[in-house]
Assembly symmetry: C2
Homo-oligomer: 384 residues x 2
């Protein structure tokens, strides 16, 4: 696996990477889709692509949204992106000005912080609890900023199966959040990358689907359900926002940033196997979540806690009072297991929790990982 | 050709698009490369890619540079990009701060201006003449900025077969430019996208190859020689600069932005057909350049002038005194030919020239386009 981003170290069960198991990637299907995209006289996959992305992919995404979210989306409210990370960078470029305040969740997706920090904006954090982002604190922050003559321009949030906590924003908070955003002219960037990976019932409605028009930019992606290396996602917003987004200088110059991959994804979706694939992934990752949760229940010491997430890739473990995850990490790695300490996803130094990803390993290895984590916690506590 | 960026209008010979002729795209070869990239157990093309891009592609690019530019490049001085436009956006994000001064050529690549304008920097222009960027004026601008307590942070230049003028920076000016840059701590971004498309002799050495280390970031691309829709290019700089570039937030999060396409390009290059393909393109585009130049000589009215470019995609026509290209454009389109008026590539309103691209049409159509342009100029001048 030369040339990939995340390579597990020998002897360590890496519960670090929030990435699809390479064994579950649709290699054969994508090979077939490439052949279709480049079949015979078809050359539309190779010239500069339309700024908003291949129209056939936009139509197929609209159809999937209609089927799974019961919402009819005009093509003009969809732009194809180069994945959620580039899309978020592009949103920051196009929708913020240096010195603006950008709000993130606490804890948030670690690597989103680097994207925000590339944009010369002020960063403020809104805490997350078991029901997701705390909208009461958010309102307080928005009011305080307004009093200080400042304005929060944008909120980056993962309301559904959050990274890193696995939590879902409650229905009441979803409604309140979009109300607050509309009232304060706060643009919500909804990272909705885990929506399809729901293991119990159905995923809650996206913020984008319940908000007044132009309040939410929703970022969807095929990174978790098809393959991350393709770098294909999409943005939903008002037609004006979509146009503004897709008129980024580098897109106006180079065309859709994922044009070839997006054409391949369109051919893959046209093949009709995507809904069944998503079902298979749900069942596979559900089994992994269950295996990790059961083993954690068995092996974690008293005083630890976690909530079983309804979807996504992560279990967030709160450690017994007084333990810090960053100090635990080297001990855990000596025991052959790794994780992301809370401090990396925090802006306030809190480090009493850790993130475990259950996407990369089959159930037996996840159980072994939990066992090693329990042993590491035992030896760590004993040594204090 | 649904979903591509540039679609010719019926009845108009569009000498507008600086894009490879779709008929010359290597559809079959890329289809084969996709099959190789996804062959059997190979799954490295589908997970998140290494931030700096697939190592095999970096090695293949190093080998091509060694063969064509006689320079040995360590892998650490190459990062794979999502094409020159995204790479330039990423350079601006990572190497400038809002309020910095960024220098561009006058005229410059039109769509580069949009990329710069996305970054809240001050834009200043340095004129280009028949020998390329005027280094005497550049020095004056650098000194004036220094006197005013400001500093030019970065210069965006296309020294080889420039877009839009087709000019090459002279050898003496190349040396002077990198001296000035080193002395003023000015970072040169060298857009080197046309290097391989040389029609007479050999292309001049890149600024990157003659400059002190860390003075030049060179952007190379496969957009013109393989296919633009793949969005694959590379950046050359010092190891530290390459690392800083590839540590962009969105790359750190999503991996190499063109990972899948880059893996496909690596397989294509491994096949060994690239040097012969470049030769074939040179011969094809040389014939097109010659056809357009000959027809312009025949059909342009007295007082017009142009220099035959030694490579690239463009001929820059200076109009007879007093004519403006933007006013000519609708007349030309009524005659069935189109072009880019100078004003779009200028920051100072100058509009006495126009850009003709000869890449998209075979010789006979280029000749017909020149004839129509001549007729349009005749009727335009008569109507004044």
């Amino acid at each position: 696996m030369d040339g990939v981003q995340n390579v597990p170290r020998a002897g360590i069960i890496e519960l670090v990477f929030g990435e699809p198991d390479p064994a579950l990637l649709p290699v054969t299907e994508i090979r077939r889709a490439c052949a279709t995209a480049l079949d015979g006289g078809r050359t539309a996959a190779l010239p500069y692509g339309a700024n908003e992305g291949p129209p056939e992919l936009r139509r197929l995404i609209a159809a999937r949204i209609a089927a799974t979210e019961d919402r009819k989306v005009p093509e003009g409210e969809i732009a194809i992106t180069g994945g959620n990370s580039l899309a978020f960078d592009q949103v920051l470029t196009r929708f913020t000005t240096p010195g603006d305040t950008v709000l993130v969740e606490l804890p948030t997706y670690i690597l989103a912080l680097g994207i925000v920090r590339d944009h010369h904006v002020d960063l403020e954090a809104v805490p997350v609890d078991d029901d997701g982002l705390d909208v009461v604190v958010l309102e307080r922050i928005l009011d305080a900023l307004a009093l200080a003559g400042r304005r929060a321009r944008l909120l980056y949030t993962i309301p559904t199966f959050q990274n890193p906590t696995g939590t879902c924003l409650s229905a009441a908070r979803r409604r309140r959040l979009v109300e607050l955003a509309a009232a304060h002219d706060l643009l919500i960037v909804e990272d909705d990358v885990y929506r399809e990976l729901v293991y119990d019932g159905v995923a809650p409605p996206s913020l984008w689907s319940i908000a007044p028009v132009a309040t939410v930019l929703r970022l969807g992606s095929f990174a978790k359900t098809i393959a991350p290396g393709l770098r294909v996602g999409w943005l939903n917003g008002s037609a004006t926002q979509v146009e503004h987004f897709a008129a980024a200088g580098f897109v106006d110059s180079g065309g859709c940033p994922s044009h070839f991959s997006a054409s391949v994804v369109a051919c893959y979706l046209e093949g009709g196997g995507y809904p069944a694939r998503v079902e298979r992934l749900r069942s596979e990752y559900r089994a992994r979540r269950d295996a990790l949760a059961a083993a954690l229940t068995e092996h974690l010491p008293p005083g630890s806690s976690f909530v079983v997430p309804g979807g996504g890739f992560f279990i967030w473990v709160t450690l017994p009072e007084g333990l810090t995850a960053s100090a635990l990490l080297p001990v855990a790695e000596r025991h052959g297991v790794s994780f992301v300490p809370a401090a990396q996803a925090m802006l306030n130094g809190d480090d009493g929790a850790l993130r475990l990803a259950f996407s990369m390993y089959p159930p037996a290895q996840l159980a072994e990982g939990a066992k090693r984590l329990g042993a590491a916690l035992g030896s760590f506590s004993a040594g204090r």
